[in-house]
């Protein structure tokens, strides 16, 4: 006979304000099988847990139901408490009467009725629970970092410094990411390259770090502690082990008119090139779209001049398979395309540029050697107008609904740097709000306004148009309540940022969830901000949400701490709620294996007795419990119902449904 205990939590007023918790506990007392039902203010507190433990012992409970918050919050807490009281932790069920009930209802009667139903449902399930034992799986002591920007670099360095092997997979020919493209960094105005490139060199020289540049993650199998990753090493047509980075090939290459993507396409570059002077690895790459030899078969000049014989036009993509215990995603961002913002005339006027393009125009290694010259005629612009929130905080559907977070600060930086270097320049900034929370941030912005005399105009720009070679910026000044038009030589758009599009593929491969804006979702917005909901996958940098360099570096180090904590373990407890095939019913049709995202299902030939001394050899499914993540995809695919999930059996789910429908 089952002896079920029920524990209804108030969660302070979170539940109790909307659900009559005493009534729920009282009503549930009459449920068949329930021998104990109690309510308490904070079930997760030390005292609450004590109450549970005591009841388990005193009433000899065989299973418990806790009516409380989401199991994502405290299932582990209550399982542990049960275990300490001698009850198998998998004999605990959570009825979520907070997120699923009190938080979404206003009427107390309704919410109370629903809470009773939810608790009954959990009782129906726990009655069919079976004690389960967690197994163990080993941890592969190597981490993968996807993305070699500042986030990936920092995470890799921290993990490697703790003594674990790290691979950085970077899709571009060099690590460095967006930060490498920046000129100066706020709020201290250090040169971006000066603080970044030493870290890049540290990565290259670190004996525990392996940089796989010009590579992409192709396939991910396995699970926390045991990921199997296939990496595509894209053909760069240059032997990485031979190239010395002498750049003679760049000089001799006759196809010099490709867009220099590192400089945001502002100047040309040869088909064979090293992205920038401090690239890591300092190895050339050939753009196959631009290379005459690869396109027509004729040329081969770089090969002729290469002193070490590094050029290999026959090079093909290769694949390597590696195993990892943990994965850090740091895929970064890109500015959004401005196709939806014709009002700013970006595509029609060379002198309407994005902020990232301005970074390159101001950088000593940029297309103008750091002299601010406007793209159309190479002249020094005398009037510069900045437009903020281009595509950010945009609920019209043209841009992004979120704040890109970094634009206020970098615009203040740009304005200040220009006024500092070219005091004869007039600088205007159109803004909706200036958002500068952060250490020394508001002081920084105030300096731009007060010390450097940057003209900040609260208001949005309606359009930018060309009149007699001048860029006319028409906008409203909300403070003075007037329409103004500023005749400008250069217009800079603080373009919204969005996750690098490749993040979608990465998220799919990792079964990591992404939100409607393609940002990777963290496990808990406040308490687990660097963990993805997929165990063993961690998030660093803008792929998780807009953030600046200091925040990115902090998050990357936090990721590293999580990874180190994981890799320091020799074994992990595995989830015992895994699938299991009933061999007597299995058809061996392979449908479950087809849908299994983890490759947990294999097939074996087994001999079965048919009666009358006869036997039959059949192909049946076999689940590797260490690999199975208990997602249940196989159980719903199996037509004969041979596949079932421990802890979430079809029977349990049906009995839950019945408990709900019984009302």
């Amino acid at each position: 006979m089952q002896r079920i205990g029920v524990f209804i939590c108030w969660c302070g007023s979170n539940i109790a304000a909307t659900v009559d918790v005493k009534k729920v506990a009282e009503t549930i007392k009459n449920e068949p099988g329930v021998v104990y039902s109690e309510n308490y203010q904070y079930m997760c507190s030390e005292n609450g847990q004590q109450l549970i433990k005591q009841a388990i012992k005193e009433h000899n409970l065989t299973g418990i139901v806790v009516g409380a918050c989401s199991p994502r919050m405290h299932e582990a807490t209550f399982r542990k408490a049960a275990e300490e009281a001698g009850l198998n932790p998998y004999m605990v069920e959570i009825a979520n009467i907070r997120e699923h009930c009190s938080w979404i209802h206003k009427d107390m009667d309704e919410a109370t009725e629903k809470a009773v139903i939810l608790v009954r449902t959990a009782i129906a399930k726990v009655k069919l629970n079976a004690p389960l034992q967690a197994g163990e799986s080993p941890v592969i002591k190597r981490a993968l970092v996807i993305g070699g920007g500042i986030a990936g670099i920092q995470a890799a360095l921290d993990i490697a410094d703790a003594g674990f092997e790290v691979d950085i997979v970077e899709k571009n020919a060099t690590i460095g990411g967006r930060m490498a493209q920046l000129d100066k960094t706020f709020p201290t105005l250090d040169c971006s390259a000066c603080i970044l490139t030493p870290k890049m060199v540290d990565c290259a020289q670190h004996e525990k770090i392996d940089i796989l540049s010009y590579s992409e993650v192709e396939e991910v199998k396995g699970f926390v502690g045991n990921f199997n990753v296939k990496i595509r090493r894209k053909a760069r047509y240059v032997d990485e082990t031979k190239c010395t980075g002498c750049k003679i090939c760049m000089e001799k290459c006759p196809s010099k008119k490709g867009l220099n993507t590192f400089n945001m396409g502002l100047n040309p570059r040869p088909a064979i090139h090293i992205p920038f002077a401090q690239a890591i690895p300092n190895v050339a790459v050939i753009d196959p779209e631009q290379c005459i030899k690869l396109k027509t078969g004729k040329c081969g000049i770089c090969q002729k001049f290469c002193g070490v014989g590094a050029i290999d036009y026959e090079q093909k993509d290769t694949f390597i398979d590696r195993e990892y215990g943990a994965i850090v995603v740091a895929t970064g961002f890109k500015p959004i395309a401005l196709d939806n913002f014709n009002e700013y005339g970006y595509s029609d006027n060379k002198d309407v540029i994005t902020s990232l393009e301005l970074e390159r125009l101001m950088n000593a290694a940029g297309p103008t050697d750091g002299v601010l010259l406007r793209p159309s005629d190479g002249k020094h612009p005398k009037v510069i107008t900045f437009i903020q929130c281009v595509g950010s905080r945009d609920t019209s559907g043209c841009g992004k609904p979120y704040c890109s977070k970094i634009c206020c600060m970098y615009t203040a930086k740009h304005a200040m740097l220009i006024r500092e270097k070219y005091p004869d320049t007039e600088v205007h900034v159109f803004y909706i709000d200036v958002r500068t929370p952060g250490k020394n941030y508001d002081e920084f912005y105030r300096r731009a306004v007060e010390q450097y005399g940057v003209d900040y105009i609260k208001g949005m720009v309606g359009k930018v148009y060309n009149e007699n070679g001048k860029l006319m910026v028409q906008g409203s000044n909300l403070i003075d309540n007037e329409q103004i038009t500023i005749e400008s030589d250069l217009v800079v758009l603080a373009t919204a940022i969005e996750p690098e599009p490749s993040v979608r593929k990465v998220a799919t491969l990792l079964t990591a969830s992404i939100d409607t804006n393609n940002f990777l979702t963290e496990s808990h917005a406040k308490l687990r901000p660097v963990e993805s909901p997929t165990a063993g996958v961690y998030l660093a940098g803008v792929c998780q949400g807009p953030k600046d360099i200091p925040e990115t570096v902090s998050q990357a180090s936090a990721c590293a701490a999580k990874v180190i904590g994981l890799l320091a373990k020799d074994k992990l407890k595995t989830n015992p709620c895994v699938a299991m095939a009933d061999e007597n019913m299995c058809n061996g049709c392979s449908q479950c294996a087809n849908v299994c995202a983890y490759g947990a299902i294999t097939y074996v030939e087994k001999e079965f007795r048919l009666g009358g001394g006869k036997t039959e050899v059949r192909r049946v499914a076999s689940v590797n419990p260490a690999v199975c993540q208990g997602c249940g995809a196989c159980t719903v695919t199996c037509p004969s119902g041979a596949m079932d999930l421990k802890g979430f059996s079809s029977k349990q789910i049906m009995s839950e449904v019945e408990a709900i429908c019984k009302m």
Binding site: T508, G588, S590, S640, M654
Partner: protein
Amino acid sequence: MKDVELKMLERAKALLESGEVARVIGWKKGEFIYDPAPASFETVDELKDFVYNWFCGANLSKYLIQASKKEGKTAVFLKPCDTYSFNQLVKEHRVKRENIHVIAVECLGKFDVAKIKAQGVSSIVDVEVQNKEVKVKSFGGETVLNKPEILLTKCETCQKTHQVKDEEIILHDRPERDVNRFAEVEKLEAMTPDERFAFWREQLQKCIRCNACRNVCPACSCVKCVFDNPASGIAAKANDDKFEEQLFHIIRAFHVAGRCTDCGECSRVCPQNIPLHLLNRKFIKDIDGLYGEYQAGETDEGKTPLTSYTENDIEPTDAVNGEAK
């Protein structure tokens, strides 16, 4: 037809005589011309009852599940539509391919004796087909019927061609056809939900749960069917009440979704004439619309739209809103 039958018989004899195969699965004469039945022939002598005529509509592929487990090879005659079922069974590891010798055979459509009888012709002795004209000889004399009107429902819209590779083929040219197999489904889709519910309710309440549809279905090849398994919790779904009765067919349609080759056997064998194939065709039409055209059983390997994921897959919300690619 006679010459095809003769060729088939010759091949069957040769294969059995040489010992290349241990048995041949084909059709056996019944009492009348219109009731041939699937049969396994193990000796040349047994082949005296072999038949292949306009009434051999049965799909023989499902018999291979058991036959391929037996000792020795099994030869089987497969019509174009049957080859899809065969491929699907091989793909799902239900039939051991290496134990089967496939002889693909000619088919110009098979007749539904009920449809002939419905035209007032009984005691059928023989049929003679000339293009679209069918001379039906009976004790009552000779009647000329229009061929499209007496075809099995599954043959009415069949455009299938042989899909089994590297096997011997006995066939001659078949005219290309341009028919829309989804016309009936489209009619159902055009109904209001209430009308559609009423339609299916009326059709499905005719069900006597004889299980013929399930037993004949090549996709229904589970070792133990959920409807025969009391532990599944749905075994009794069929005979509960009228609404639950419908669930048998609906659950079955879900189970074979993405795997059904549209062989039409379910409707052919239904003694109550329930158009069960329309449930399956609705799924096929939806899969085509949501994931691009897909024909189950076209090959015996590869991924299927419902059990594989690609990045370009339609989002669930778009699928619900019917925004197919």
